[in-house]
């Protein structure tokens, strides 16, 4: 469905981030996908692998994580909405459990590049915490 256009956005952000960190290769990237979206994680991975070909992310291992919804209500309630328990598909119950009004989803509608893993790069201007080997120990 629309994973290909979203995948293009994710890849472009990953390549920008790698370039900002002086890396010429991306070893892995993680995408957070909200549960209250129609983005299909498996299709997302498939699309990303396809369009990453001949880019610095060509060999990247792609991981996805599900972000569970959170909602807030004007009455002050905040929490994880229940599922509507529709057979086969997930949708949050957006009725506030306290007052019955419609609550706003504040989490669970994202499709976000959460992290990238890049080879160890040593730059004098980078603080130690930015070194990839401290992050994941990925080989250069």
């Amino acid at each position: 469905m629309h994973e290909i256009s979203i995948a293009k956005g994710i890849l472009s952000r990953a390549l920008d981030a790698a370039s900002e960190h002086g890396a010429d290769r991306i070893d892995a990237l993680t995408i957070e996908i909200g549960r209250a979206t129609h983005v299909n994680p498996e299709q997302m991975v498939f699309c990303l692998e396809a369009i990453a070909d001949s880019t610095p992310a060509a060999e990247a291992k792609i991981r996805t994580e599900t972000i569970q919804p959170r909602a807030e209500c004007d009455c002050g309630w905040e929490g994880a909405p229940e599922s509507l328990d529709l057979p086969g598909g997930f949708a949050p119950d957006i009725r506030c459990p306290d007052c019955g009004q419609r609550a706003d989803l504040v989490q669970g509608r994202e499709c976000r590049l959460a992290s990238i893993e890049i080879p160890d790069v040593s730059h004098d201007d980078k603080p130690p915490a930015r070194r990839a080997d401290e992050v994941r120990g990925s080989p250069s």
Partner: protein, 261 residues
């Protein structure tokens, strides 16, 4: 297969998710922490948030800068979106300046129908895409003199899945479902129903013939998206369209401060 799908908190075996999110890894995470710290927005790492941000820009241009009341119609192919817009055009006061943006994967059928009313219509063929997106609508807007428009109808591609993730920046998003799609149509597409500001159940005259339980459709809308107003129409005969038109006029007033009698 390189891709693995995991729920939170299992991949690294760390005892505490917060530690993973906020600990030393943070320097290589893109999203909340890093972008907020540098004054950027969430949308820089979140593609869907970026789309919502783009929709917000379209909204600003259309609704606030040019005071156009914009109404999106979204729903399945064959649900009656174009017919409902035609019925609203039939009822539009003579001094209301209306335009339309029509999205379809291919063809100009809907645009041709609306042009019969003598209004400016921009047709968007999405090709491989299954929905309109804010960029496409924004480009289409350049074909209009927005200062010379009171109302813009935006008819999305017939699709009840993808548009849920792609708001367009209109004043209102109106979902059209029809009885011929079955009594379970709402429960099958809950996220789109939740993304709508109002719902129309069309072809009510056919409910009995196709065995659709209208009470179930009404009940499902209420359960999935509490508080959104629901209108029941038979667009072909014009039934129920007056109530819809009155609702839109009331919303127009609250959006732009303009009224049309």
């Amino acid at each position: 297969m390189a891709g693995l799908h995991h729920d939170h908190g299992v991949r690294f075996g760390l005892p505490d998710l917060r530690e993973r999110l906020l600990g030393p890894l943070r320097a290589h995470r893109f999203g909340h922490g890093e972008f907020e710290a540098t004054g950027g927005s969430d949308a820089e790492a979140d593609v869907l948030a970026a789309i919502r941000e783009r929709a917000g820009e379209v909204h600003e241009r259309l609704v606030h800068d040019h005071e156009v009341f914009a109404v999106e119609f979204v729903g399945s192919t064959g649900g009656g979106k174009t017919k409902l817009i035609e019925e609203l055009l039939e009822r539009a006061p003579a001094d209301e300046r209306v335009g339309a943006v029509v999205g379809d994967v291919a063809g100009e059928d809907d645009a041709t129908r609306l042009r019969e009313y003598g209004i400016p219509v921009e047709n968007i063929n999405t090709g491989k895409e299954c929905h309109l997106d804010p960029d496409g609508v924004d480009s289409a807007l350049s074909a209009f003199d927005l200062d010379a428009l009171d109302t813009l109808y935006v008819e999305n591609v017939g699709n009840m899945v993808c548009p849920a993730d792609f708001p367009l920046g209109t004043s209102l998003r109106v979902l059209v479902v029809s009885t011929t799609e079955g009594g379970d149509v709402v429960g099958k597409h809950p996220l789109l129903v939740q993304a709508a500001d109002a719902a129309i159940v069309n072809k009510i005259d056919l409910a009995e013939a196709v065995g659709t339980d209208l009470d179930r459709v009404r009940g499902d809308i209420h359960e999935v998206a509490p508080e959104i107003p629901v209108f029941e129409t038979n667009a072909r005969a014009g039934t129920g369209v007056d109530a819809l038109a009155a609702f839109l006029d009331a919303r127009r007033e609250s959006h732009t401060g303009h009224t049309h009698q």
